[in-house]
Amino acid sequence: MFLFAAAAAPLLPDWVVSLVTIAFANGLVVLGLVVLWRAGLVSFGQALYYCIGAYAVALTARWTGFTDAFALVVIGGVAAGLVAVLIGFLLARYREIFFAMLSLALSMILYGVLVKTESLGSTDGFSVATPTFFGYAPHREALGLALYWLTLGVDAIGAVLIGVYFRSVAGALAAPIRDNEIRVEFLGVSVTSIIHTKVVVAGILGGLGGALAALAIGHVDPNMAYWTTSGGFVFVTILAGAGSVAAAFVGSLVFEGVRSFAFDVMPQLWQMTLGSVLLLTILFLPDGLGSVVARLKRRGEAKS
């Protein structure tokens, strides 16, 4: 899928390229939410890691003048990952709505801190230096494509690794934890540490997503940590469904597409459009777009 998208790039109009870039960057954050959701956990504060990843990139570039895209993305992921490790100790004890609420509170605290930080432009945020790629410094369309391919690359790697993770004990212990924590404990596994790892995995993905988004947008601001941002990601997670890894990216793409379409066609009613889409998905596609993909796959296999 990613190879295909990568190959398609030169044929796409620029605006589609940039739209897809941002959609796929956010797709990583959604993938993180999928990891949690499989274990029955929903974070209404995932924007926390998104924002940390973005600011890590922006600040590194701003303070050190270091602009290599690949390294910056890694830095973003690591920064968010470290925060997730710390927060995880706290968060791993919580379930259901309480998990959601606490993560929300934490992200809102970061929001508050950033708004207070006038040296970083408060709510205005500040711009991110144009990235370079191993010394190669593209511009305009070239830059767009470079970022697009970078995003696809990171997504592909992320998707593969998460695929492996889902097949590992830590990854597979999602439905079981949702179903019956006690049994998991008596099989000799610490549920807390499994959830902790999930929080960290989701955090890293969130950070990577934020980092890529920061580079693609060229600007960061505290809104990236606001609860509505998190809400958007959860929205896409539901839209995509926890079924497959690919769904996260497809869902994110559909979401960006619908949003942008609504902005274009009915600038004053785009929220209603989004809301209706979400509602209809929940009512008629309870397992999200992923289920459709899966069904098609199955049909394909049945044929062959």
Binding site: V20, D124, T130, F263, D264, V265
Partner: protein, 435 residues
């Protein structure tokens, strides 16, 4: 544009994404097309009613007048240099990501010739690098942050409306001129960039102009907090004679209702740097004697010129409310762009973005809000005179009026070319020519 056209384009886009089979040229407009402008402002959310809608209305009415060639000289040629203008209105609401995406869509999908808009300084800062990268002419109309042209020189980004620094410098000058006995002042500003910057500039200016006047309470309630009980009683316990606020619309009105109920305005004079946008709604709820600013000489603060009367009339006739400053700023921006365009367009040929940009630099003209000089930011940032006045609700005519207006020349309240606003204030506002 027609829905069918939009839809087909989206279908194409869809195909492009999935089948990767649509060449970018598919979106090229046919030759001799009208000049396309993207107009961006808040159409939803809390900032829509105070800024977004007046801004859009201003654009609507001015573009109509231009297309019919009904605007007064020197703006009386049809559209831009004889070519009609087609405007596309887009919502500014959403994250920086949305704003940037929508900007790209305007430029790359809708192929607009220029973009006029943006209210939030955040949006302006986010859009600027993209506009520069895509080499598309962009005129910001309302956002206030001076950082845009201070961070680095820009080529394609312009702002006819003056930046926010002069609002607060002038506020300080007016306060000191009119309220001789002031020994201490307090401030209540929204806890986000706009509020923080406004307060910083005001305090800076006060330090320079009246070093012995001290600031007392410094309050930064959450943006759109709505409830100001605690803030009001904090201020009630203060001995200050003046209160500075850059609150706007919803928060401003809410605060006024709540402080009125507890008589704060009887204890201290309130200075509202954006008050002008609210007077038509607050009417007799706003205390007489309140000091009112309007982000420049806009609305009742504007000079009584022919073009101003004309603008007031067409706007009021259409929307049966007088135009507020966002409408003025939009008009000013469009007129500036028009002149630049026509200066660049030689022999009817459609000028390129670079040609317009070169023509735009340092341009001067008289709009509804008075004389504009693109004097600073390397000719990209406009400066105008500004004015402050004192509010009074005229009981006979049953309408608001602003009395004993003081006008401050552009050079008196704006930093000279090449100096950052913050630095200029911090270093004692050297080179300010007032008289």
């Amino acid at each position: 544009m027609s829905h069918r056209k939009t839809l087909t384009r989206w279908v194409l886009a869809g195909l492009a994404v999935t089948a990767a089979a649509v060449p970018a040229q598919a979106q090229q407009p046919p030759a001799a097309a009208p000049i396309k402008l993207g107009i961006v402002s808040f159409l939803t959310g809390p900032a829509a009613s105070p800024f977004g809608i007046p801004g859009r209305n201003g654009a609507e009415i001015v573009i109509e007048a231009l297309n019919t060639g009904k605007a007064p000289a020197p703006f009386n040629t049809v559209g831009f240099g004889g070519t009609k203008i087609e405007a596309k209105y887009v919502d500014e609401t959403g994250s920086a990501a949305n704003v940037v995406t929508e900007f790209r869509n305007l430029v790359q999908r809708d192929q607009v010739d220029a973009v006029v808009g943006y209210i939030s300084s955040g949006s302006c800062l986010a859009v600027t690098p993209v506009a520069e990268e895509l080499k598309v002419l962009t005129v910001f109309y309302d956002c206030g942050t001076p950082r845009i042209f201070e961070e680095k020189p820009r080529n394609y980004v312009f702002r006819v409306s003056p930046h926010a620094t002069m609002d607060n410098v002038a506020a300080a000058r007016y306060l000191l001129a009119k309220k001789k006995g002031v020994t201490s002042y307090s401030g209540i500003n929204q806890n986000y960039a706009w509020g923080q910057d406004s307060w910083r500039d005001f305090v800076g200016a006060m330090k320079v102009l009246a070093p012995n006047v001290t600031s007392d309470k410094v309050l930064f309630p959450k943006l759109f907090a709505g409830e100001y009980g605690a803030e009001v009683s904090t201020l009630l316990t203060s001995k200050s004679q003046a209160l500075h606020t850059s609150f706007f619309d919803g928060d401003l009105e809410g605060f006024v209702y709540q402080e009125q109920a507890r008589g704060l305005d009887k204890r201290m004079t309130i200075i509202m740097t954006t008050g002008e946008a609210a007077i038509w709604r607050l009417r007799d709820k706003l205390a007489d004697g309140t000091i009112i600013g309007g982000r420049g000489a806009n609305g009742p603060l504007a000079r009584d010129t022919e073009i101003n009367r004309w603008f007031q009339k067409i706007y009021t006739d259409r929307y049966n409310l007088p135009p507020t400053y966002p409408a003025y700023q939009m008009a000013q921006s469009l007129f500036g762009l028009k002149l630049a365009y026509e200066k660049a367009a030689k022999a009817g040929a459609k000028p390129t973005a670079d040609e317009i940009a070169t023509a735009f630099k340092g341009i001067e003209f008289d709009g509804p809000a008075g004389h504009v000089k693109m004097a600073i930011g390397d000719g990209h940032q406009g400066i105008t005179e500004t004015a402050y006045g004192t509010y009074r609700f005229n009981k006979q005519k049953k309408e608001p009026e602003i009395v004993d207006i003081v006008r401050f020349p552009a050079e008196c309240v704006n930093p000279p070319a090449g100096i950052d606003a913050d630095k200029w204030i911090a270093e004692g506002m050297k080179g300010a020519k007032c008289n």
